[in-house]
């Protein structure tokens, strides 16, 4: 199959125009959502039923404790529900889930990773998928929004210990942002051919004489939030390559739009919340630059492999085409989505390596819902710090001093994910019983393991699918990578927000390093690349780069 450059350029142009038109209005709406003092009637009802004090303004530690309490309860409920599937409604005849798989899946969906160590068709009925997994698709994304809202409040507020109310942020992100968008998105998906029904339509005797059971289920409702919330857990094993999740090239483009629309609108929210739109535009520029460069490189890596070796075809859908897959593979790994419309394991070596590199960047361009922007803002703090050292002044970010306490938190944040990825990969490779999970010979086996830990520690969820991660060893290691990769950075971000909120605002002077404009954008982009990507260069050299040189 050939990559059609004209079609790729057209799709990029359509996305740019639509996202450019939407990011300011949506960003404005998001800013209102997280700053308004009004509560909707349905929200007040929800607070009353849950016993939530909506007026409480929480210290960062209380905010974090609420977030962790919610996540722990979610993991336990999801884990137990899978064990009890046999007696729960809508199980479609499927029985209890293997406990290791259930544990891994519970962690995976609550951490917004959606790594799937199970084949949904033979493991989970639509009851669990619809009433537990899809619910976490909303809530785990709303947790990301809540954390970034709290971090921005830390920058905006002065001389306070409080960052807002986790429950109110969680509720508003879900009800005011994700739910209405998911309803619209789901209906559009149904029109393109994504199914929304309550089970298989029976056995059909085909024109060719063979028999086939057409599967069913509430797929469109799950598909829409799977993409909008940058979750990525497919209703079917083949994810967005499955014809019932992604029927046409047009639906594929629409799905990429759903992945990108909220993350690319968050910088506008940030700009409005800090009262300086230029701050948002600067961050947005860096994100867009990474996205366009990465998409171009992905297209090149795939096009260059066409006609050589095993060529381009294995794992691709003829129905969708090559350009939609290049676009999708980039968007899904630059965000924390992890949905796939092409089998990443069979991508040309350098294209698979690029998918890894996108995740290793820390998923900041534009990144997951909420997590992308807080990741980028942490890097902005580093940029301010280094810029401050260069000009010999105390670094300040939006009127807040960046001193040793802040830099300690930021340094820890930056170390968490690479540590998890490299340590997890090293432990697995060094333990023959674990390494057997990736039976592929040569550097490709290493790539499969590296990809698994990169994906889980960054809460992405896509996979080089040749790996088997359902055994106790791999299921536990990957679950740990997901848990620590999600909640350690969140804890550090909230601590940073708390330490910023406490300070008084310092007025900007002529000597203050401006955190907007082209100079800072270049500094921020450069630091993102140096800090994150270079950490992984030796590992990438052993995996996809070595493989790319084989043929």
């Amino acid at each position: 199959m050939e990559l059609n450059i004209l079609s790729l350029a057209t799709q990029l142009a359509i996305l740019i125009v639509v996202l450019a038109a939407l990011h300011q209005p949506l960003g404005h709406y998001l800013a209102i959502t997280f700053t308004s003092h009004r509560h909707l009637a349905v929200e007040r009802g929800l607070y009353r039923l849950s016993g939530i004090d909506r007026q409480a303004d929480q210290h960062w530690k209380v905010y974090l404790r609420s977030l962790l309490a919610f996540s722990v309860v979610s993991i336990l409920v999801l884990f137990l529900a899978q064990l009890l599937q046999g007696v729960l409604p809508f199980n479609e005849g499927l029985d209890t889930v293997d406990p290791w798989v259930a544990m891994n899946t519970a962690v995976s969906f609550v951490t917004n990773t959606n790594w799937q160590t199970y084949a949904p068709e033979t493991t989970l009925g639509f009851g669990i998928q619809m009433m537990l997994l899809a619910v976490q698709n909303f809530l785990s994304a709303a947790v990301g929004l809540a954390v970034v809202a709290a971090l921005i409040r830390g920058l905006v507020r002065a001389q306070t210990n409080n960052l807002g109310n986790f429950w109110v942020d969680l509720t508003r992100g879900t009800l005011r942002v994700l739910l209405p968008m998911a309803i619209v998105g789901a209906v559009v998906l149904v029109v393109t051919g994504v199914i929304q029904n309550w089970g298989g339509t029976g056995i059909h005797t085909l024109a060719t004489g063979a028999q086939q059971t057409v599967p069913g289920g509430p797929v469109a409702s799950q598909e829409a939030i799977k993409l909008l919330g940058t979750n990525g857990g497919g209703y079917f094993n083949a994810n967005s390559a499955h014809p019932f999740e992604n029927p046409t090239a047009f639906s594929s483009l629409f799905e990429v739009f759903l992945i990108l629309v909220i993350p690319f609108s968050l910088p506008a929210m940030y700009g409005r919340m800090v009262g300086d739109k230029r701050q948002g535009y600067t961050v947005l520029t860096v994100m867009v630059a990474f996205w366009l460069i990465s998409t171009s490189l992905m297209a090149w890596a795939i096009a260059a492999f066409s006609g050589s070796g095993t060529s381009v075809g294995e794992g691709f859908e003829q129905r969708l085409g090559v350009a939609p897959s290049a676009l999708f593979a980039t968007a899904t790994t630059l965000t924390s989505t992890g949905a796939v419309n092409v089998a990443h394991d069979s991508l040309p070596p350098l294209a698979g390596g690029l998918a890894m590199l996108n995740m290793m960047l820390g998923e900041i361009a534009p990144g997951g819902v909420g997590s992308g922007l807080y990741g980028m803002l942490v890097l902005a703090v580093v940029a301010v710090f280094i810029g401050g050292l260069m000009v010999g002044r105390t670094p300040e970010f939006l009127g807040k001093k960046i001193g040793a306490p802040q830099m300690k938190l930021v340094a820890l944040y930056i170390l968490v994910t690479p540590t998890l990825v490299l340590l997890g990969t090293a432990i697995t490779v060094a333990t023959p019983a674990l390494a057997a999970a990736a039976p592929a010979e040569g550097p490709h086996g290493f790539s499969e393991i590296l990809y698994a830990f990169t994906s889980t520690a960054n809460n992405n969820g896509s996979a080089f699918g040749g790996i088997t991660s359902s055994g106790p060893g791999m299921a536990t290691l990957l679950a740990l990578a997901m848990l620590l990769g999600r909640f350690l950075p969140i804890a550090l971000v909230l601590a940073l927000a708390g330490s910023l909120a406490k300070q008084r605002k310092i007025p900007a002077t002529t000597g203050t390093l401006a955190t907007h404009g082209p100079l800072f954008a270049v500094l921020l982009g450069g630091i993102s690349l140096i800090l994150t990507a270079l950490t992984y260069f030796p590992a990438l050299a052993l995996g996809p780069a070595a493989e790319g040189l084989l043929k």
């Binding site: 739910l179 085909l206 086939q212 390559a241 029927p247 699918g465 493989e547």
Partner: protein
């Protein structure tokens, strides 16, 4: 109860409320809207032949015998009870062997040189259920299918053209031939040809 216990209880109550709203009301609402906006698609794009449902136009179907257009290879045997790619790496020996074997089979079946077999004919799709093939692979199969069905090559080519994607999807993706709808059309053509002979 201490602060931690209270938070856990709040979390559980919140999760239950959210589940009713997001896990029940939302999918039911989308179901209702889907049945209003596009019932055929929401129910699986089922195609019929002579009033009988003969599968979904979006799913590949297994074929046997010389009279049908073959879909692409599948890692799951074209059975939608599951879906999967081969997940073989681009340089893996198993993939190189599978492609060589598929290429030899297709070349022998269509009586062409192995070099003439297009890549989609020898590689498994990501889902294992992709019903589409390239126009080149369809063209390769026309002579065999026409002979086996007692139809003229021109008539079969016409059916292929009718089942080739056009418009937005062909431009955004690539022009493709849907083997499922094509084989259903072929079945209808066989019936009418048989009717004429009687």
């Amino acid at each position: 109860m201490n602060a931690y216990g209270r938070q856990l209880l709040t979390a559980l109550r919140f999760l239950i409320c959210a589940t009713l709203l997001l896990g029940l009301a939302y999918p039911v609402l989308v179901f209702g809207l889907g049945q209003l906006a596009a019932p055929a698609q929401a129910n699986g794009s089922i195609i019929t032949s002579g009033g009988q449902a003969v599968g979904s136009s979006l799913l590949a179907q297994p074929v046997a015998g010389a009279g049908w257009f073959h879909p692409r290879p599948s890692a799951v045997g074209w059975d939608p009870a599951t879906s999967s790619a081969s997940n073989l790496g681009p340089n893996q020996a198993a993939l190189v062997e599978a492609i060589a074997k598929n290429r030899a089979e297709v070349a022998a079946r269509e009586k062409v040189a192995p070099a003439e077999v297009p890549i989609d004919a020898v590689t498994a799709s990501g889902s294992g259920l992709d019903p589409d093939i390239s126009p080149a692979y369809a063209a390769l199969q026309v002579a065999r299918v026409a002979a086996a069905n007692g139809l003229s090559e021109a008539a079969v080519k016409e059916l292929v053209a009718q089942n080739t994607s056009t418009g937005v999807n062909a431009f955004l993706g690539q022009p493709s031939v849907n083997t499922t709808t094509l084989n259903a059309a072929l079945k209808a053509a066989q019936k009418s040809a048989a009717g004429l002979r009687e």
